[in-house]
């Protein structure tokens, strides 16, 4: 039928405004743009990823997170592994290692019981994986499928990709949206969206960056401790990110002496060489979280609020961006993140 092709409509090209260029906004904008939408990304800061994404650990560890997070996080988080190694290939897939000081060994058993996709390894295998940890721990859990990335490099790469797309307009340093009608608005402002999402709260996190060339690690290492579990993520060039505290406190921007002490203590417990490391940076910000610490895509007319990524920004953003795009393009429904209360839905 010749005229059928003549009159065939090209698929609709929705227009969307994404507000907020943290990892949630950047991935959502990129997902919409690569599916053909006209995208305008607005960010009040001068460059992408300067909110709490800036202080993220960058561990892509869905199975480890399953220790304290709900199964939804483990499931959605697995999408991040392909996303950050193939779509935006900035992650290194070298697994992650979980260790405990000798006296806190019961913590390792508990961690193993509550997680999956790990292998219990002993001293010899630890040495093969991380030669610098030789002789320091006699048991560990190895999560071979997990990955890690440098959050600042990841948002920069997303920013570059977006800037190169003809159907994307980037507006940095502007808090207000131009008065132009768009089909969809995606509010990815994080904690700044409290005006619209009153049940959002901030959970303070503190991190620090150390530099030492005396020790090398190939993958994130989690040090279990009953009071303050801590992780160390290698960032390359002798830099290590240590994080992160979790405090129900909404005063951002400062690191307490106690937190600094805890973070440094944990680093020292992992390897004494960290005692000689140089302190490069202390940082702190607030993670946006809902009361159940689970993410939401809340739909209000043609506005989507993507929020509550809590301590799982880089882990959850790819799945949430995909869902948001499917809502925009295909009116899809995802009850697991769109209901007001996921847990209550489960119990009903």
């Amino acid at each position: 039928m010749p005229h059928s092709s003549l009159f065939a409509k090209s698929p609709p090209r929705p227009s969307a405004r994404v507000i907020g260029a943290g990892v949630a906004g950047l991935t959502a904008a990129f997902e919409l743009a690569r599916r053909g939408a006209e995208v305008e990304l607005i960010e009040r800061g001068e460059s992408p990823g300067r909110g709490c994404s800036f202080y993220a650990g960058g561990m892509l560890a869905p199975w480890c997170e399953g220790e304290s997070a709900e199964p939804l996080i483990v499931r959605l988080g697995q999408e991040a592994l392909t996303y950050w190694t193939q779509t935006i290939p900035v992650a290194k897939r070298a697994g992650s290692l979980v260790v405990a000081p000798a006296r806190d060994k019961p913590e390792l058993a508990r961690f193993a019981r509550r997680t999956s996709a790990h292998e219990a390894i002993e001293s010899d295998s630890i040495t093969v994986l991380e030669p610098d940890l030789a002789g320091r721990f006699d048991r560990a859990l190895f999560f071979a499928q997990e990955a890690h990335l440098d959050p600042r490099a990841a948002v920069a790469e997303l920013g570059r990709r977006l800037a190169a797309m003809p159907n994307v307009t980037l507006r940095f340093g502007s808090a207000t949206a131009p008065n132009r009608n768009v089909d969809w608005s995606l509010d990815c402002r994080g904690l700044a969206a409290r005006d619209a999402l009153p049940d959002l709260r901030g959970v303070k996190g503190e991190m620090l960056v150390l530099e030492t060339h005396e020790i090398a690690l190939s993958r994130p290492v989690r040090l279990l401790h009953p009071r303050w579990p801590i992780y160390i993520v290698p960032r390359g060039s002798g830099r290590f990110m240590l994080g992160a505290t979790m405090i129900e406190n909404e005063r951002a921007g400062h690191v307490t002496a106690r937190s600094a002490m805890e973070l440094l203590n944990a680093a020292y417990a992992l390897h004494p060489a960290f005692a000689e490391a140089e302190i490069v940076e202390f940082g702190s910000d607030l993670r946006p979280a809902f009361p159940d610490n689970l993410p939401r895509i809340r739909k209000n007319g043609r506005t989507l609020y993507i929020n509550g990524l809590f301590r799982h920004g880089f882990l959850l953003a790819p799945a949430l961006a995909r869902m948001a795009a499917e809502i925009v393009f295909a009116n899809a429904v995802f009850p697991e993140v769109m209901d007001a209360d996921q847990r209550e839905r489960q119990t009903v």
């Binding site: 304290s68 997070a69 709900e70 508990r110 019981r113 509550r114 709260r201 901030g202 009953p226 009071r227 405090i247 129900e248 406190n249 909404e250 005063r251 106690r258 979280a289 809902f290 009361p291 159940d292 610490n293 689970l294 209360d341 847990r343």
Partner: protein, 265 residues
């Protein structure tokens, strides 16, 4: 025997029916925290001011969540190492939570989290004089317990085992002696409880209530564990009221052996 349905206990003039007090730290999320508190049927929750708040505007969302639970708040001085720190924290808590109650912890060292009982007595004296109603976290030492009573405490909270250890009742003899010695003082086992059977055992010793946090918060399913503790505390209390049998060394058959119709060939 007291009627179990009207069973209640009193502290500082407040009558309470729940015999389980729970802490609010270390839960996977505020939502699970509030579901677990409801499941525990606790009437009192302890909150730590030190780490979580400490300033104006800090952690307001978290506090309003606790307030919404409609339970009594018992602020604690967790993590305080000196008398001065504990007193300052208590004063701050009184302002934030508008209550004279304080669970007084003076910790001797971070590794054991053992109470510094000497500092504890001194801080209890200062705070009681200042109008506080002090719930001291102490050991089973009877001499110290006496000094805490002299200092103005109307309740004693000995440990079962070190904080967060989950080892249960390390010294049942000491706890029993304390119960016998302070027959008229409300006694609460605070810290060290790991499983519901530990809580039931403490209640069977005649303790008035149990205070715990980690055993619920760090369970795989805190809400279900909270329910388990509510039942075990009730079971232990009922057992105490019901006057348990005495254990004996030899078997005591519940049916007569002699004259059985059938015996083994």
């Amino acid at each position: 025997m007291q009627d179990a349905r009207e069973d209640s206990w009193q502290v500082y003039g407040t009558t309470l029916s729940s015999r389980l007090l729970v802490g609010t730290a270390q839960y996977p999320s505020p939502k699970i925290l509030s579901d677990a508190i409801r499941a525990s049927e606790a009437e009192i929750v302890t909150v730590s001011l030190r780490r979580e708040s400490g300033g104006s505007g800090a952690g307001q969302t978290f506090w309003s969540l606790i307030r919404e639970l409609g339970v009594r708040v018992l602020p604690n001085t967790a993590g305080c190492h000196t008398v001065k720190e504990a007193v300052t924290t208590a004063e701050m808590a009184r302002e934030v939570f508008d209550t004279p109650w304080v669970k007084l912890e003076v910790i001797s060292d971070d590794d054991t989290l053992a109470p510094d009982v000497i500092g504890l007595v001194e801080a209890a004296r200062i705070l009681s004089r200042d109008g506080f109603q002090v719930f001291p976290y102490t050991t089973e030492d009877l001499g110290i317990a006496g000094k805490l009573i002299e200092a103005g405490c109307e309740i004693l909270m000995p440990w079962g085992a070190p904080i967060g250890s989950g080892r249960g009742l390390n010294n049942p003899y000491g706890l029993r002696a304390m119960r016998a010695h302070f027959a008229d003082v409300p006694l609460v086992v605070d810290a060290g409880i790991g499983t519901p059977s530990h809580a039931a055992a403490a209640m069977e010793l005649g303790y008035d209530a149990i205070l715990l946090n980690t055993a619920i918060a760090k369970a795989g399913d805190p809400v279900v564990m909270a329910r388990a503790f509510a039942r075990s505390v009730e079971a232990g209390r009922l057992a105490r009221l019901a006057d348990p049998m005495e254990p004996r060394d030899m078997a005591a058959p519940s049916t007569p052996v002699i004259g059985r119709a059938f015996t083994a060939a």
